[in-house]
C-alpha cells in the first residue's frame, strides 16, 4: 500500500471519527466512539499494523501521519467531551433546586427577658468604666434602707416609698440604695460600684409594680464633684440611647444626696419636637442622682471633708418600657409568651 493511499484512507477515517464524536449525544456514545477510533484495538491503531508492509523509509512517514490523525481525533474527542460535561453541568444547575427560604434545621431560639437584657446593657456600660457589681439582700433592715440613708424617722420623705414590711421586723427594700451603706461599711474608699437588684413598694398600677428593679451607682473618690456626675451620666446616656443624646439635670430631693437631681434625656423619639412620650416637653426623665450627702458618708465611716462622691438610681423597668414601647409594667412579670417571644 502506498503512503498516499494510506494517507487518503486515514483522511477518510479522520472524517468518519470526527463525525462520530460530534454525533455522540452523551458520555456513553462518546465513550463508544472513543473505543472504536482511539482504543487499543481501535481503527487508528489498526493502521500501525500496515507499518511492516511499508518500506523502511516510508515507515516514519506513516507513523507521523497516524499520529497526526490521532492527535486531531483526540482533540475533537476532548472538545466534545467538554461540551457534553458542560451541558450536563448546565442541566444539573438548572434542574436541581432547593427551597432555602424554608427554615433551617435548628432548635428555635428562646427570648431573653427584656428586663434582663436592659439590666445587662446598663451593667456592661458601667463595668467598662471600671465599676464593680455589688449585691445586697432584698429583705433589709430599717437601718440600711432608711436610717443610714439620712431618712429622718417620722419624716414625710418616708411616704415617698410606701414600704412592705415582713413579719420578722425587717422590710422589703424600697430601693437599691442600702447597698451603698453596706459597701461603705465593708470596704475602704475609694469605691466605685453599681448595685442592680429587686426592690419593692406598696404600689400597683399600670406604671407601678409592687416589685420592680433598680440599678444603684455609687462612686466615691477624692476630688469628685458635680461636673463628674454630669460627665459620667452623660456618657452613660449616650452609651445606652445613642451618642448624640443630651441630658438635662433638674433639682430634686432625695434624703441621701445633696444636691439631688433628676436626670432627663432629650426625647429620643421626637428629637425634642414634642410627642406623646415626652408629654410635649422634649425631655424624658430617666433617673435620680446627686452628690452623696455628708451624713451618709459619715454613716459609712468616710470623712466627707476628704472624700466626696456621687450616686444614682435608675429604674430598669422604666428604661425598658421606654426603649421597647411597653405600656404596662405588669407585662414584665406575667410570662405571657405572646409578649416574651417578641424579644427573641
Amino acid at each position: 500500500m502506498s503512503s498516499d493511499l494510506v494517507w487518503s484512507k486515514l483522511q477518510e477515517l479522520l472524517a468518519e471519527g470526527v463525525q462520530s464524536f460530534k454525533d455522540a449525544k452523551d458520555e456513553d456514545a462518546l465513550t463508544h466512539a472513543q473505543k472504536r477510533f482511539l482504543g487499543r484495538k481501535g481503527s487508528v491503531q489498526a493502521y500501525m499494523q500496515h507499518m511492516k508492509e511499508l518500506a523502511p523509509e516510508e515507515r516514519p512517514k506513516l507513523g507521523a501521519l497516524v499520529n497526526e490523525v490521532r492527535t486531531k481525533l483526540e482533540k475533537t474527542f476532548a472538545d466534545v467531551e467538554q461540551k457534553i460535561r458542560d451541558a450536563k453541568l448546565a442541566a444539573d444547575l438548572k434542574q436541581r433546586k432547593v427551597d432555602l427560604t424554608l427554615p433551617g434545621r435548628t432548635p428555635t431560639l428562646g427570648a431573653e427577658h427584656p428586663l434582663q437584657k436592659t439590666q445587662r446593657q446598663i451593667e456592661d456600660i458601667f463595668l467598662q468604666m471600671g465599676f464593680e457589681i455589688a449585691q445586697g439582700p432584698q429583705s433589709e433592715w430599717d437601718y440600711f434602707n432608711f436610717e443610714a440613708l439620712n431618712f429622718p424617722a417620722d419624716h414625710p420623705a418616708r411616704d415617698m416609698q410606701d414600704t412592705l414590711m415582713l413579719e420578722n421586723g425587717s422590710l422589703l427594700r424600697t430601693h437599691t440604695s442600702p447597698v451603698q451603706v453596706r459597701t461603705m461599711l465593708c470596704y475602704e474608699p475609694p469605691i466605685r460600684i453599681i448595685a442592680p437588684g429587686t426592690v419593692y413598694r406598696r404600689d400597683d398600677d399600670v406604671t407601678h409594680s409592687p416589685m420592680f428593679h433598680q440599678i444603684e451607682g455609687l462612686h466615691i473618690e477624692k476630688g469628685l464633684n458635680l461636673t463628674h456626675l454630669r460627665g459620667i451620666l452623660e456618657l452613660f446616656a449616650q452609651s445606652l440611647f445613642g451618642k448624640n443624646t443630651k441630658i438635662r439635670l433638674r433639682p430634686s430631693f432625695f434624703p441621701f444626696t445633696e444636691p439631688s437631681v433628676e436626670v432627663d434625656i432629650a426625647c429620643i423619639f421626637c428629637g425634642q419636637k414634642g410627642c406623646r412620650l415626652c408629654k410635649q416637653t422634649g425631655w424624658i426623665e430617666i433617673l435620680g442622682a446627686g452628690m452623696v450627702d455628708p451624713n451618709v458618708l459619715r454613716e459609712g465611716h468616710i470623712d466627707p471633708e476628704i472624700w466626696s462622691g456621687w450616686a444614682f438610681g435608675v429604674g430598669i423597668e422604666r428604661v425598658a418600657m421606654l426603649l421597647h414601647g411597653i405600656s404596662d409594667i405588669r407585662l414584665f412579670f406575667e410570662s405571657d409568651l405572646r409578649f416574651l417571644k417578641q424579644f427573641a
Partner: protein, 836 residues
C-alpha cells in the same frame, strides 16, 4: 399642689412672662410643674360683644332678640334665652363658625327668628359653674377683642381669673416652705430677679391684749396666736374668694371658712376659726389628749384619741385635733357672729403621727407635717383679718389677741466655705455671685465677700441646717445645666480593699457586697445557653400565695410550706415571700394555656427566701435559683415529625446550659423522692456530692390540683454553688496517630437496670484500649420479652499510646476482640446482660 398663675401675679411682677415660661422657670428650680392648664382652647374663638338693643321675642315668653356690637361695624342679631340681661352689658360672644369644645356655632332659627351666633354664660364656656345668666366682662373690655384678652383685664364680680393657668406642682417633701402661693412666688421672683410685691395686711397692734391661750408644752405647740373677732356676718363668699379657694380644690363654705382656706393656700399657714359662742369658755388650752377621749370632726366622723395626740380644748373638751382637723360642734355656721381665730404652729412629728394613725389627711396636716414657720404666724393673722374685712359690709371688731410664743424660733446660723462650694460643685463662685443667688431666697449675711461666709438661714427653710444644704441652693439658683460635664481622673480599677476592722452598727450580719466578675459572667453565659436551647426567659413576682406549696404536694412541715409572711400585704396572692420558684412557673403555664399556647418552655433565674435564725435574729436567707418548665408540644418543624416535650428535653436543656459554663453536675436517682415530682420520674442534680436541686415530671396530684392536662416537666436548682465553682481550664490531649476500631453491642437487660448501672459496670472493668463509648438505642417492646429491654452501645478502641509514634501502633483484630470480650463479660456478670 395646685397653684394659680393669676394668684401668683398678685405677688410677682410677671410682665412679659407667660405662664408656660414661668412654669419652666419653676421646674428648673426643682418645683416641678407636672401639669399645666393653659387658657382653655375652647374660648379661642370667643370675642367680646356689647348688648346694644334688647327686644322681646314675638313667639316666646323667655327668649330675647338681641342686637350686639362685636366690633365688626354692624350690629349682629342673636336670639338669647338668658334672663336679666341689660343693654350695655359686655359679654362673651361666639360668632358663626366659632368652635366651643365640640359645639360649632351655626346660623340657626329659634321659633322663627334667625340667630347669628351665641351669647355665653360662664358655664357654657367651661370657665365656671354659673349658668344663671351671661358672663359679664370688665367694663374696660372692648367689643371685638378676644375673651382671653378681656379676662386679663380682670372681672370684678364673677368669673374665673383663678380658673385658668393652673399649675400642678409636684413638690418634694423637704419643701414645706413652698406649699403656698407665697412660697412659689418667692422662688419665681428670685428666678426673675424681681422683688415680690407686698400684701395688704390688717395691723394687730391696735387689738387689745387678752388672756385666751394656755400651752401645755411648747414642744408640741411652739406658738399659738388667738384673735377674738365680733360682729361678723357669716354668708356666702364673694365670687373672687369662692373662685380662689375652688381653684385650689377646696369647697367654698362661707366667707369666714373660705378666708382661712384662702390664707392657707396663699401663705401656707393653716388656721382655724371657732364659733366663739359654741366654746364652753373663752379660753383655749393646748394639751395632749387623754386616752380614750373622742371628738366629732367637721367631716362628721368620730375619732378616738390617745396621749400621742395633741388637742385644742375650750378648757373642757377637745374642739380640734391640733393641726389636723377642727371639731364639728364649734364649727362656724350661718348663725355665727363671734369667732375665735387660731393661728398656730405644731410639731411636725406630732401631727404626722396623729394624721397617720387616724388615717386623716387634710390640707392642714399636710402642711404641718412638712413644717410651718412659727415666725410667719403674725403675718398670716394680719392677712386673714384684712381679707375677712373685705368680705364684710361692716368691718369686724377685733376684741382681743393672745400670742403665746414662749421660745422664739431663731434663724439657723452657719458658715459657707467658698472652697467647699468649689469642692462639691467643681466651680468657684465669688462673694457677689453667692449673694445674688442666696439673698433673694432669704439668706442674710454681713460678710458676703469673706472666704467663709457667715449665713443666717431664713426661718421658713426647715430643710436647710447644714452647709451642704446651702450648696444645693446655689445649684438651684445657678442652674444645674450651667455646670460643665467632666470625666474624673481616676485609676482604671478601684481596689475595694476590705476594711481591717469591720464596721457594723447593727446586730445583723453583713456579707461583703461586691460580686466578683466571674460568677456574674458565668450566670449570663448560662442564661444565654438556656435561651439558645429554645427556652424563653421569665421573671416572676417574688411573692407567693401561701396556699401554693400545698397544691404542689409539699407537706405542711416542709420548709417550702413555711414562708416569711408580709405584714402588710396587698393581696393574699402576694402575702408571703416565695420559698420556691415553682408556683410562679406553674402560674405562668396556666396563663399561657388559657391563651391557647400549645407549648410552654420557660426558665427563670431569681431568688427564693427561707426564714432562718442567725445569731438569734430571725433572718430571711436568700438563695439564687434556676427553674425550668417544659409543657406541651412545640410547633412541628417541617423536617421532622411532631413530638411533645419529654423529660429528656428538660435534662438536655440543663446539660447543654451547664456544660456551656463548664459545670458537669451529676444526675442521680434521689435517695428519697421529692414530693412535687413523680416518684419514678425524677433525678437529683448534684455537684461535688452536694445536691443542688431536682428535675422530673410534676407529681400527678399537683398537676390535678392545678387542673393541668398533659405532663409538666420541671426543674429547680441552686445556682450559686455552680456560679462560684471555677471551671477547669481545658488541657490539650495529644492527637492520636493511629486509627481506631469500633464494635457495636446490643445487650438485653431487665428494665430496672439503669444507664448509670451500665456506665458503672463499664467503668469498673474498662480496658485501657477502650477510648470512648456511647449509647445509640434503647428498645422496649414487642420483639423482646416483657420486663426486659434491649440496649445498643458503640465502643471505640485504640492503642493507649496512639499519640506516641514510637510506643503506639494500630490494634490488631484479636486485641480489639479481647478487649471487647472483657466488656461483654463485665456486663453479663454485673447486670445479667446477654448479647442479643
Amino acid at each position: 399642689m395646685i397653684i394659680s398663675y393669676k394668684w401668683l401675679q398678685n405677688m410677682v411682677d410677671t410682665n412679659g412672662i407667660d405662664a408656660a415660661t414661668a412654669a419652666a422657670k419653676l421646674t428648673a428650680r426643682g418645683l416641678e410643674v407636672e401639669g399645666f392648664t393653659p387658657d382653655p382652647t375652647y374660648i379661642k374663638d370667643i370675642i367680646v360683644a356689647r348688648l346694644i338693643h334688647i327686644a322681646e321675642h314675638p313667639n316666646s315668653d323667655h327668649l330675647h332678640l338681641v342686637d350686639a356690637d362685636a366690633g365688626t361695624g354692624e350690629l349682629i342679631r342673636v336670639v338669647c334665652g338668658a334672663p336679666g340681661i341689660q343693654e350695655g352689658w359686655l359679654v362673651p360672644f361666639a360668632p358663626v363658625g366659632a368652635q366651643i369644645g365640640d359645639l360649632k356655632i351655626k346660623v340657626s332659627k329659634l321659633r322663627g327668628e334667625t340667630s347669628n351666633g351665641m351669647l355665653c354664660s360662664e358655664k357654657e364656656l367651661g370657665l365656671g359653674s354659673d349658668n344663671a345668666t351671661l358672663l359679664r366682662l370688665s367694663p374696660e373690655a372692648i367689643p371685638g377683642m378676644t375673651l382671653a384678652e378681656a379676662l386679663k383685664l380682670g372681672v370684678p364680680e364673677s368669673v374665673a381669673p383663678y380658673a385658668t393657668d393652673l399649675f400642678e406642682i409636684g413638690l418634694t417633701p423637704d419643701r414645706g416652705d413652698c406649699l403656698s402661693h407665697w412660697g412659689i412666688a418667692r422662688e419665681l421672683s428670685a428666678s426673675l430677679q424681681r422683688a415680690p410685691r407686698t400684701l395688704q395686711l390688717h395691723p394687730l397692734t391696735d387689738i387689745p391684749a387678752a388672756s385666751i391661750v394656755t400651752l401645755e408644752s411648747p414642744d408640741d405647740c411652739p406658738r399659738y396666736l388667738g384673735v377674738l373677732a365680733d360682729g361678723i356676718k357669716v354668708g356666702p363668699s364673694p365670687a373672687w374668694l369662692r373662685r380662689a379657694v375652688e381653684s385650689c380644690g377646696a369647697r367654698s363654705v362661707n366667707n369666714v371658712v373660705d378666708v382661712t382656706n384662702f390664707v392657707c393656700f396663699e401663705l401656707g399657714h393653716p388656721m382655724h376659726a371657732f364659733d366663739r359662742d359654741k366654746l364652753k369658755t373663752d379660753t383655749i388650752l393646748v394639751r395632749r389628749a387623754h386616752d380614750g377621749e373622742s371628738i366629732d370632726a367637721i367631716n362628721h366622723e368620730k375619732y378616738t384619741l390617745n396621749q400621742e395626740d395633741v388637742v385644742i380644748t375650750d378648757g373642757e373638751n377637745p374642739v380640734a385635733i391640733a393641726g389636723v382637723m377642727g371639731g364639728l360642734n364649734t364649727e362656724v355656721d350661718e348663725h355665727t357672729t363671734r369667732v375665735l381665730f387660731e393661728f398656730a404652729a405644731f410639731h411636725p412629728t406630732r401631727v404626722r403621727k396623729t394624721a397617720k394613725r387616724l388615717g386623716l389627711h387634710s390640707e392642714s396636716s399636710h402642711r404641718y407635717e412638712r413644717f410651718v414657720d412659727p415666725e410667719g404666724i403674725e403675718r398670716a393673722a394680719q392677712r386673714t383679718l384684712w381679707l375677712l374685712n373685705q368680705t364684710l359690709d361692716t368691718p369686724a371688731r377685733f376684741a382681743g389677741i393672745d400670742d403665746q410664743y414662749p421660745r422664739r424660733t431663731l434663724p439657723v446660723q452657719l458658715t459657707l466655705r467658698r472652697a467647699r462650694v468649689a469642692q462639691i460643685l467643681g466651680k468657684s463662685f465669688s462673694g457677689p455671685e453667692l449673694e445674688a443667688l442666696l439673698k433673694p431666697i432669704g439668706f442674710v449675711s454681713t460678710q458676703w465677700n469673706a472666704d467663709d461666709i457667715p449665713l443666717s438661714v431664713p426661718t421658713w427653710r426647715s430643710d436647710i441646717t447644714r452647709e451642704i444644704d446651702v450648696i444645693e441652693e446655689i445649684c438651684r439658683g445657678y442652674g444645674f445645666d450651667n455646670f460643665p460635664a467632666a470625666l474624673p481622673d481616676v485609676a482604671l480599677k478601684c481596689p475595694h480593699i476590705p476594711r481591717d476592722t469591720p464596721i457594723n452598727p447593727t446586730p445583723y450580719p453583713i456579707a461583703p457586697p461586691i460580686w466578683e466578675r466571674r460568677p456574674r459572667a458565668r450566670l449570663h453565659d448560662l442564661r444565654d445557653a438556656l435561651i439558645h436551647t429554645g427556652l424563653d426567659e421569665a421573671m416572676h413576682y417574688t411573692f407567693m400565695d401561701p396556699g401554693a406549696p400545698a397544691k404542689l404536694n409539699f407537706p405542711p412541715n416542709a420548709p417550702e410550706s413555711n414562708p416569711m409572711k408580709i405584714a402588710n400585704p396587698m393581696s393574699v396572692e402576694h402575702s408571703t415571700m416565695r420559698t420556691t420558684m415553682l408556683p410562679g412557673m406553674i402560674d405562668a403555664l396556666l396563663k399561657n394555656i388559657a391563651n391557647q399556647q400549645k407549648s410552654c418552655a420557660l426558665f427563670e433565674v431569681g431568688e427564693v427566701f427561707t426564714p432562718q435564725t442567725i445569731q438569734n435574729i430571725p433572718c430571711l436567707t436568700e438563695r439564687r435559683k434556676l427553674a425550668v418548665l417544659l409543657w406541651g408540644e412545640p410547633a412541628k418543624p417541617w423536617f421532622e415529625p411532631a413530638r411533645a416535650w419529654d423529660v429528656y428535653d428538660l435534662k438536655g436543656c440543663l446539660q447543654t446550659a451547664l456544660y456551656a459554663i463548664g459545670a458537669t453536675p451529676e444526675f442521680q436517682t434521689p435517695d428519697s423522692p421529692v414530693p412535687w415530682l413523680h416518684d419514678g420520674i425524677q433525678a437529683a442534680i448534684a455537684l461535688d456530692g452536694k445536691t443542688l436541686g431536682f428535675l422530673g415530671e410534676l407529681h400527678p396530684l399537683a398537676a390535678a390540683n392545678f387542673k393541668i392536662e398533659g405532663p409538666v416537666f420541671l426543674a429547680e436548682l441552686d445556682l450559686d454553688p455552680i456560679l462560684d465553682a471555677t471551671a477547669p481550664i481545658t488541657r490539650m490531649t495529644p492527637l492520636p496517630r493511629f486509627h481506631f476500631s469500633t464494635r457495636d453491642l446490643s445487650i438485653v437487660v431487665p428494665v430496672d437496670v439503669t444507664f448509670q448501672d451500665i456506665a458503672r459496670a463499664i467503668q469498673d472493668f474498662r480496658p485501657d484500649t477502650l477510648e470512648s463509648w456511647s449509647i445509640f438505642d434503647v428498645y422496649k417492646g414487642k420483639q423482646i420479652l416483657p420486663g426486659l429491654q434491649s440496649i445498643s452501645l458503640n465502643f471505640r478502641y485504640r492503642h493507649p499510646d496512639a499519640a506516641n509514634p514510637d510506643e503506639g501502633r494500630p490494634l490488631s483484630d484479636d486485641e480489639v476482640n479481647a478487649a471487647h470480650a472483657v466488656i461483654v463479660d463485665a456486663l453479663n456478670q454485673r447486670l445479667g446482660a446477654y448479647i442479643r
